[in-house]
């Protein structure tokens, strides 16, 4: 039995290849995601190991909570001597770190998108500099000297002896490059730029005189790092801790990996979408295969094979396809991982090149998903095959074991209701007790149900649908058009499943279009209503800040009426990271509309927190309640709610505190940086004048952007567009799989209609006309998929937007042109998918085709 099954598999190589391809892409995506994230993990592990190479113990300020991306606050320099006094310490040296932006020869700031611009002190003993090594020149010794990383030097044609501008928290100045630094084998630290200074110079530049960021300790020969750590710890004053370098490396890389965890989850979701689409293709393929082999299977039954043996034959075939596809898919995962790195870098997330690991987990998950999905999808057709009465099949009676349309519609309707119910329950909560399901998975499972239901229901509407769609075709292209329309409705179930595979990908694209456009429209409206300032100054990318000097300078300018700095910080909200914005309570009324409904800004200036109305309602808090907020510098604090506000779209935070409160609780954790400045121009000052003042002040801060209201709005929209591009790029894989589905189904249909095509050729249809006929058919199927996708996508978009109304997405906007564009996109996908089957059909030998049984 197994041998028969295997023979069948290899007898139909093309069919095997196409079916396997759809599974393969899905598995490749899963494997690629794992390989990609493992690569990132490895990179950072390696990075931090390298950074702490040769060091034994690190002494630094103790932090209450590990939140956010800024390092611990500085400690007093006197601690260095304390550490040096501990027996077993061979060497202990303080070092300071902050940011430093290097300018190229044209005066342009060198700012990588994503990775930081690191500024740090370098010490004479190379062991204390981790894996930083001199590639050229000598270490900085004087105040006007700087060391730069090899990559920055290379990319910007900088050499030892060149003079460059470098901006630090306190100043912008000229520095002579005295050394080029490499980091082990790498030219830079995971994409970051690096400017190294002599220790005291660095202290001055970073505004850390008399302080150090951390102390690096090297143990005497024969002293274990663990024992030394204990000895140092007992000598340290309160609030300062000692950790082994190995632990610190592990901690830091773990913290970064955690932050990138969302990325893995998001990518896996897209991978599962791809696999879900692939399962439609597999099921369709096996259904057609079983149908075509109806006679063969019936013959086997007639000569004594049991029903379960027939099932096994089909399942074994699926198993072979699943194994082959999964193995190849895992191999292709490396290609996908490369592609993901490319996608990330196009959205400004530069990742260092590094070797891609293949973890056992990648292999296990890839194989399991690939094989299970393939076999599951084949079981239904197999069981159906086993139920064909042998005699009926042998007599060539068209045995229909399909469900009646009525029954199908009832089941489909039921599944649809469950799906919609789950989505509504997940989005609007409190409707049902969802038990162990959380809201997000309820929405996800609901979406799967909706897709399945639409696929089931669509087989009954395919006929009228295709006729309507195909209505213009006979007018455009008389006979081939008519034949294409008729062929597409011959096996409605088959057409429905093929179209459904395309539907899923396009539905998600349409959904993101609606959601993205709504977010843009809502943000735009909020900016229009809520932004009173004339200019917004901020840093693009991921949470960058800039020196407070800019705000101070602008405050003093006569052309400026008011400047409101916003300062960003993480806090621990019952174990999860949340964030808070520190605002200037005295000027915010002139720059940003908050919609304060309770409490007053004056009160906020004295302490306490403002909370967004929706959060207050959700949590059941009232004005005057105290809530526990955990801060890195000060630990757990009971903070009083002193006000409630409604407009969070411009301040982009659900929690607001005054600047004094902020400085107090974030001391040392980036308190020296502003994240946003909202600037209102004085009355009577022309736009040109105020803009000139703001821009000339900002010119000293290379990483900041000055935008007026319209530009700011545009920049917010651009950010959404960037995300849309990324999502759609990822969904494109699902669309490609669906295209393989169309190709596969058409190829199998052509195979079934061999004789018919032979007849058409015999009575004078040209190869070209045959090709056109197949292409039209593909276009019809693809457009049905696109329209179904748009309907489902619009539904998802509208309902999700409604659910997010309380999150500030209160404007529903449907980008009709983009969505209509999906129909054209679908049609093109159909045309491309038809190329191979059309060619195959046109190449059929007429005589063999006519004689084909």
């Amino acid at each position: 039995m197994i041998r028969t099954a295997l023979k069948t598999v290899f007898a139909h190589k093309l069919r095997l290849a196409l079916t396997a391809l759809s599974v393969m892409i899905g598995v490749a995506f899963i494997a690629g995601t794992f390989i990609f994230t493992d690569t990132i993990d490895n990179t950072f592990n390696q990075l931090f190991e390298d950074v702490y190479e040769g060091q034994d113990v690190i002494v630094q300020a103790e932090t209450e909570f590990d939140v956010g991306f800024s390092g611990p606050p500085p400690i007093d320099e006197s601690v260095v001597d304390v550490v040096r006094g501990v027996p077993g310490v061979e060497l202990a040296e303080g070092n300071v770190g902050s940011f430093a932006v290097i300018y190229d020869k044209d005066g342009e700031a060198i700012v990588p998108t994503g990775p930081p611009t690191i500024g740090a002190s370098l010490t004479e003993d190379s062991r204390l500099n981790g894996n930083a090594q001199l590639r050229d020149g000598r270490l900085p010794e004087a105040s006007g000297e700087v060391a730069v990383d090899a990559r920055t030097a290379q990319d910007n044609d900088l050499q030892v002896g060149d003079v460059v501008q470098v901006q630090t928290p306190t100043d912008v100045g000229d520095f002579e490059i005295v050394s080029i630094i490499g980091f082990g084998e790498s030219d830079n630290l995971a994409g970051a730029t690096f400017a190294g200074f002599e220790f005291e110079t660095a202290q001055r530049l970073f505004d850390l005189e008399g302080q150090v960021s951390s102390i690096t300790v090297i143990a005497e020969e024969g002293t274990s790092p663990d024992l030394l750590r204990n000895a140092i710890a007992s000598a340290l004053p309160d609030g300062i801790e000692a950790v082994t370098a190995a632990d610190e490396a592990a901690d830091q890389s773990e913290a970064l990996s955690d932050q990138l965890g969302f990325l893995q989850t998001a990518l896996l979701v897209f991978a599962l979408v791809a696999v879900f689409v692939a399962s439609f293709i597999i099921q369709n393929t096996f259904r057609i295969i079983v149908r075509q082999r109806q006679k063969e299977l019936a013959l086997m039954r007639a000569v004594g094979a049991t029903g379960s043996q027939v099932v096994w034959m089909v399942v074994i075939e699926a198993l072979v396809v699943g194994v082959v596809a999964s193995v190849v898919g895992i191999a292709f995962g490396f290609v996908i991982a490369q592609g993901l790195t490319g996608v990330m870098s196009t959205i400004g997330f530069d990742l260092p090149a590094s070797s891609a690991p293949l973890a056992p987990r990648t292999i296990i998950v890839g194989l399991t998903v690939g094989i299970v999905v393939t076999v599951m999808a084949a079981v239904l057709p197999a069981v159906r095959a086993s139920k064909i009465p042998p005699v009926a099949a042998l007599q060539d009676v068209d045995v229909s074991l399909r469900m009646s349309d009525r029954r199908r519609n009832i089941i489909g309707g039921g599944v649809l209701a469950i799906g919609v119910g789950l989505i509504v329950a997940g989005l609007f909560g409190d409707v049902l007790d969802l038990g162990p399901l959380n809201e997000l998975s309820a929405v996800g499972i609901g979406a799967i149900f909706v897709f399945l239901a639409v696929s089931v229901l669509s087989s009954t509407i395919v006929k009228p649908f295709a006729r309507v769609l195909g209505w213009p075709m006979p007018k455009i292209d008389n006979l081939t058009g008519t034949l294409a329309v008729e062929n597409s409705v011959r096996k409605p179930r088959r057409t429905a499943t093929t179209a459904s595979a395309l539907m899923i990908g396009l539905a998600l694209v349409a959904f993101f279009f609606v959601l993205g456009d709504s977010i843009k429209a809502s943000a735009g409206a909020a900016i229009e209503e809520g932004l009173r300032a004339d200019y917004v100054i901020n840093v693009d990318g991921f949470g960058g800040g800039f020196g407070q000097g800019l705000g101070e300078e602008l405050r003093d300018a006569p052309e400026v009426e008011a400047v409101t700095p916003l300062r960003f910080g993480f806090w621990d909200h019952d174990g999860t990271d949340d964030f808070v914005m520190g605002i200037d309570t005295t000027t915010i009324d002139q720059t940003i509309f908050l919609g304060v409904t309770q409490g007053s800004l004056e009160a906020l200036g004295d302490g306490g927190v403002f909370v967004l109305e929706d959060i207050v309602d959700q949590e059941g808090w009232v004005l005057g309640d105290t809530i526990p907020m955990g801060f890195s510098a000060t630990g757990l604090q009971d903070v009083e709610i002193v006000g409630v506000f409604t407009e969070a779209n411009v301040v982009q935070s659900n929690y607001l505190v005054g600047l004094d409160f902020y400085d107090e609780n974030f001391e040392g954790f980036g308190t020296d940086l502003d994240f946003v400045l909202a600037v209102a121009a004085a009355d009577g000052v022309t736009e040109d004048a105020s803009r000139a003042v703001v821009e000339s002040a900002a010119a000293d801060y290379p990483n900041v952007n000055v935008r007026d209201q319209a530009e700011y709005r545009q920049s917010q929209e651009d950010q959404v567009d960037q995300l849309l591009v990324m999502f759609n790029a990822l969904l494109f894989l699902a669309v490609i799989i669906a295209m393989f589905g169309i190709t596969n189904t058409l190829a199998l249909s052509v195979f079934e209609r061999t004789r018919e095509i032979g007849l058409l050729r015999a009575v004078g249809m040209s190869r070209r006309q045959i090709r056109r006929m197949i292409r039209w058919e593909a276009v019809i199927v693809a457009i049905i998929g696109a329209i179904l996708g748009i309907i489902v996508g619009l539904f998802f978009g509208v309902i999700v937007t409604a659910a997010l109304a309380s999150q500030g997405i209160d404007v529903l906007s449907i980008p009709s042109i983009q969505i209509l564009g999906l129909v054209i996109f679908g049609a093109i996908a159909g045309l491309l998918a038809a190329i191979l089957p059309a060619r195959r059909a046109a190449k059929l030998n007429i005589l063999e085709a006519i004689a084909y049984e």
Binding site: L479, L483, R490, L759, A762, V763, S766, R767, L847, I850
Partner: protein, 250 residues
């Protein structure tokens, strides 16, 4: 017959000169056609008979341009097929040749009317409604025209196929066992119609059959054996055909 080697005249619808069709090489070589020379005059109903493997289907296919000779020439009217490319062959089949096959003659997704008009639809040409009505009228298909093939009886299906072959007024119609799948009454109706098409409209038909009764509807019967024409009979009856077959020692 072999003495009539003149240039093609209007009265010759198709002819084969010294046609050979060879499959395989060396020991496995099979000569399906081995030096066949034959002419098919316009307005004549010719039947080709012979035992299985005699090459009668190959003769039909090569004459119709569905298959290519290994050696020799085929003319349809004035056109020599050997020099034609696939595209021109397709056009030739569409314009000058009609086909009736044994089974599965129709496109299941098209109505009977569309099936009849298929060659013209493919060509994108208008049809002559009068001629169409005449053809379907004779065939008794008038009330079945909107039906799909699956809703027609086997006899009706073959009559639709015959109407399709006639409607474009081809120079020649090739029929491959057209009555092979039909009961005797339906077969008689179909063959009777084919004979009328020849007599009344001057149509030229070449039909392959193994049934002496079917062959008796023709004006002339050619007997084929081992890829060669071995005999010929004019104005056959079932009896004379059967006699001749026996003589050939089948």
């Amino acid at each position: 017959m072999t003495t009539m080697e003149t240039t093609a005249t209007a009265s010759i619808a198709a002819r084969m000169d010294n046609g050979a069709k060879i499959y395989g090489e060396g020991d496995t070589e099979v000569r399906a056609l081995d030096g066949v020379t034959a002419q098919f005059e316009s307005g004549v109903f010719t039947a080709i008979m012979g035992p299985s493997g005699s090459g009668k289907s190959t003769l039909l296919h090569t004459l119709a341009g569905l298959d290519v000779l290994s050696d020799g020439q085929v003319h349809i009217g004035d056109i020599e097929l050997g020099s034609l490319k696939d595209k021109d062959l397709t056009l030739l089949r569409r314009e000058k040749v009609g086909f009736v096959f044994q089974a599965y003659n129709l496109i299941p997704t098209l109505s009977a009317r569309e099936n009849v008009l298929l060659p013209l639809l493919i060509a994108g040409e208008d049809h002559d409604e009068e001629w169409f009505n005449q053809v379907v009228g004779i065939l008794g298909l008038g009330d079945r025209l909107t039906h799909r093939p699956s809703e027609l009886s086997g006899g009706q299906q073959q009559r639709v196929a015959a109407a399709r072959a006639l409607v474009s007024r081809p120079e020649i119609i090739f029929a491959d066992e057209p009555s092979g799948n039909l009961d005797s009454k339906s077969a008689a109706e179909l063959l009777d119609f084919m004979r009328r098409a020849v007599k009344e409209f001057g149509q030229t038909i070449v039909m392959v059959t193994h049934d002496p009764v079917s062959a008796s509807y023709a004006d002339r019967v050619i007997f084929l054996e081992d890829g060669k024409i071995v005999d010929e009979l004019l104005d056959p009856t079932p009896g004379t055909v059967l006699d001749r077959m026996r003589q050939l020692g089948a």
